[in-house]
Point group: C2
Chain length 221, copies 2
Amino acid sequence: MPEKDPTTPRERYRTQVRAEVKEHAWEQIAESGASALSLNAIAKRMGMSGPALYRYFAGRDELITELIHDAYRSLADALGAASASGADVPGLAHALRGWALEDPHRYFLVYGTPVPGYHAPDEITAIASEMMALLLDAYAALVPDGAATPFGTHLEEHRGWADGHAAPPAALHRALSFWTRLHGVLSLELAGHFTGMGFDPALLFAAELDDLLERGGRSTT
Amino acid sequence: MPEKDPTTPRERYRTQVRAEVKEHAWEQIAESGASALSLNAIAKRMGMSGPALYRYFAGRDELITELIHDAYRSLADALGAASASGADVPGLAHALRGWALEDPHRYFLVYGTPVPGYHAPDEITAIASEMMALLLDAYAALVPDGAATPFGTHLEEHRGWADGHAAPPAALHRALSFWTRLHGVLSLELAGHFTGMGFDPALLFAAELDDLLERGGRSTT
DNA sequence: AGGTTTCGTTAGAAGCTATCACGGCGCCTG
DNA sequence: CAGGCGCCGTGATAGCTTCTAACGAAACCT
């Protein structure tokens, strides 16, 4: 017999339905993208009629916001798992690319074209800085101390986003480059801008990663 | 008195209306993004009723496709103008950033989240390779011959996208890095992922550009 | 067992894309 | 210059969407 559960049956049912809605939402996004996500279609696929879903989500916007949150959480978990099993900088890069290729639409939910009115809630910026902390950890273990670049000194005066992390400015700079460069390659690859060009995007990604390492990680001699 | 014009009055009227529709579309995109673009709203703003626009555009998709085309054209022209007035690699980078900041939504129309079913027509890939040619020109004038990177040799076997350009493989590699890295910074900046972090995105862009140059352009001693 | 809360329904308003049939104006030609 | 062909804009209509409102029924808690 089940242990005493502080959650009422109604609550459990509610969260279960919400999860099922999200599941259908992800399927629909995977086939047609987030812009084509339809509450009506989800409801019909679940065997109930349109407005029923408004008992569970305030509207389309709230559902999408929650999907974005879950996507962020999923990415942070993927990077966290890699980091926990001892991944270094290239390990994190590999985890990032794996996560991106696993579901391109999910990647674009996080890093794609922003919705005009949307402003990220604190919960999401917290996840973002959680990922940044992972990256800074990996770079702090790698960077010697770093010749101060002009941008590095600028960062030293604006390191609030590092959230008290003790990484040297050179590591901050490297982490930012890691982020922007790999996003650059991944974004263009997933958006299909490389299709028809013939070369292997994986090799371009690897080349960018090599460049990132050659430049920032010469301390582990 | 006007010179003899091979275009009939009807044709002129037609192209004029089409241009006006696009103008309103750009305004609407600038305030609410491309996903919120509404033929109906445009028609009303122009003082005519909904279905009238279907005389000028087959549908919403055709209008958006044409806006994307115009955006590509605009970017290629911006880069072309810079190139024509003697801009080198950093000059092209500056032109790119200027164009991007001028209208972020237009940037995302080109490089943002792709629409699921959409496949770029030949006309657009032609513009893309036109821009790539500009970039390759600038790099060919800069790169010595380049120590062959592994990815460089891979590119040598898959250089179809360079469209017969005589640039050495190192230049191809550098041009690709230019593209992906600057897109990485710009994309994250325009999407607002740097807001609240405190540092100046322009300096990060400049730092990435410096890195791009330091590595690829040491021939101009 | 009764009362309250929550669920799912149908109905409806407002918006959108897109198609159709119709009337009228404008352009080109005879 | 007048006739006729063709294009333009309209209203009506179908079908889709989000989202609100009111109602009945079911399930939960006391």
